[in-house]
Amino acid sequence: MEDILEPSQERNPGKLWSPSFIIKLNRMDLSGKNYKDFIDRNEALKKQYSPERAEKQHSKGKLTAHERISLLFDPGTFEEIDAFVTPADTPVEFGKVEKTYGDGVIVGHGKINGRLVFAYAQDFTIMGGSLGYVHSKKIAKIQEMALKMGSPIIGMMDSGGARIQEGVASLSGYASIFQNIIQSSGIIPQISLIMGPAAGGAVYSPALTDFVFMVNQTSYMFVTGPNVVKEVLNEDVTSDQLGGAEVHATKSGVAHLIYDDEENTILALKKFLSYLPSNNVENPPVLQEDATPDINEKLREIVPDDPNKPYDVKEVINLLVDRNSFFEISELFAPNLVIGFARIKGKTVGIVANQPKVLAGVLDIDSSDKGARFIRFCDAFNIPLITLEDVPGFLPGYEQEHKGIIRHGAKMLFAYSEATVPKITVILRKAYGGAFIVMNSKSLGGDFSFAWPTAEIAVMGPDGAVAILYRKELAEAKDPDKLKAELVKKYRDKIANPFIADESGYIDEVIDPAVTRKKIVSALNALSNKWVKVPARKHGNMPL
């Protein structure tokens, strides 16, 4: 399964999957009436998915629902259900309803890299993919099957929204879909691919799922569209500016992964799924052991001597995990915290790392939200957490305080503490104040805590500490700058280092950066049977 995205292997997924009418008709006895109806119906369905409809999608730069399904599943494995259902028989006094088969959505199951996955794909060419009663029933049916079988479910959205003609029936349809997502949450991985519009209530179906993929320029999500914005606020805004992939990947954080075209989106999803277990009882699939060296001296050279110089924490990640296995999530949103899946000795791990290169790696509102949600996903699906820490603290300032960094930072704290999967921390450099506590500290339930010799563990940075403790002396000194420099040096030597924490047991070991992978591997082995007794309760009250 390695190098799934290699173009030579994966861009040739075989023949286009097609519904049941592919059966060789000439072998059949056509005289019986039942068979004749059967064949006629198949022919009618075949006609419905005509090349003209496909061309309409292609001219917008989109694929049809059939093509998406064919790209997603291993060749020949997809089985469609409910292909012949027709729209609900509601008296139409306003607008029109096309009498089509399938009611604008394809649902079914198949294999992705050999594993069972359920999926639904909305078909924009049929009544704009609008969600009517029957359409929603089909989705709800496949959701319930996925939950029962304990397999991931993929939703491919390309829909104009609720079907106006059907009124409250379609609204209740949405509600039952949401209810199913919530009931399955934390039991099976649920992933949404936005491949066209998703507006109004429709946005909450992807928002409730675990991960959202979007396609640049052809997909958008918003609660109220540009027309309403124009009417109510008199602001001119395009769909793309309001809720395009780029906006949701960078500003709102709604989209976890964005790609430039649908083929890349689907190929990436297939790779993404290879990191996840099928459900919360199983463990993620294990790949063959990797030849990545356990001892790597390059790790000693990444963190600069000057504590004010940034570096790219992704370099550290890439040297610690199996070669090329790091799959970053939400790369563009709150980039001061890096999250993603990777493999160590072929086993999936979740990485949470402060990024000194962006905003000095501070924790702020967005990065806390991003981290907390990822930690909870990993915990639900038995994925061990590796935390790489270099955090100067929480971002100060009235903007963050007024928007509630207290509430948001608490989410991260809650998520880390609540997680019962193996939790390993490596302190690379700064570990100051409340942020040190939050980033999976040992006393918060972290299983193993290592520190590099470059680590600085203290209540606050040297400058701040000196200014508070020696305010009087500094004010009276003849040469305050010189005194300050001396005190800062003393503080760094005596307090802001990893050795005090090590000698008092607040971390487990100060390690040579070169052996970090080796230490993580043995810690993961030691934790492989970790079991935590959690108190019985309905659920904790996580700060939201």
Partner: protein
């Protein structure tokens, strides 16, 4: 159109040149009607290299993201994307529809002090290239260009302090 049986892929270079090649990859490739014998190798010691006419040429993949690649070949860097016939068609459709972003102002992400200015008025920058260095949270932060384009103006000077959302640099988006 049946896009599922892909027999060829197209490399589109940043200069807009297309180069088609057949799938699965063959050791012989055809350039302007002439056939060349080219092989790619990878070893742990010498990395990736290409053999042509009995000579070895080192190839380095500098960046690869999704279908975008930047490679270093014979010390010259090339950037290109790999497209299928369908995605190439899509690219062309969307290029026509895409509205121009116009000018973009790069704002300070947090309060701090400008310690170095790397770009100048009129300099060409590409997405992800550092424009200036802002010291905040006791750390030197690189402020990166969000788009490909030309610097229109730099509104701060070295050692000046800035507030959050102060405009630092204005960039005009590259056309095309």
């Amino acid at each position: 159109m049946n896009m599922m049986n892909i027999e060829k892929l197209i490399a589109v270079s940043s200069s807009g040149k297309d180069f088609e090649f057949e799938m699965p990859l063959k050791d012989k490739i055809v350039i302007q009607g002439e056939e060349y014998d080219i092989k790619l190798y990878y070893t742990e010691e010498s990395g990736l290299y290409l053999v042509w006419n009995g000579k070895k040429y080192p190839v380095e993949i500098v960046k690869s993201k999704q279908n975008k690649y930047e490679i270093l070949f014979n010390s010259i860097s090339y950037s290109f994307t790999i497209e299928t016939p369908f995605s190439l068609q899509r690219m062309k459709v969307l290029k026509v529809n895409k509205p121009s972003v116009g000018n973009i102002s790069v704002k300070a992400p947090m309060p701090g002090k400008i310690v170095d200015i790397i770009c100048q008025k009129g300099s060409k920058v590409s997405r992800g290239e550092p424009l200036l260095i802002l010291e905040a949270m006791k750390m030197e932060n690189e402020i990166l260009s969000p788009i490909d384009g030309t610097v229109l103006s730099v509104s701060v000077s070295k050692d000046s302090t800035v507030m959050k959302d102060d405009i630092l640099v204005e960039i005009e988006e590259k056309k095309g």
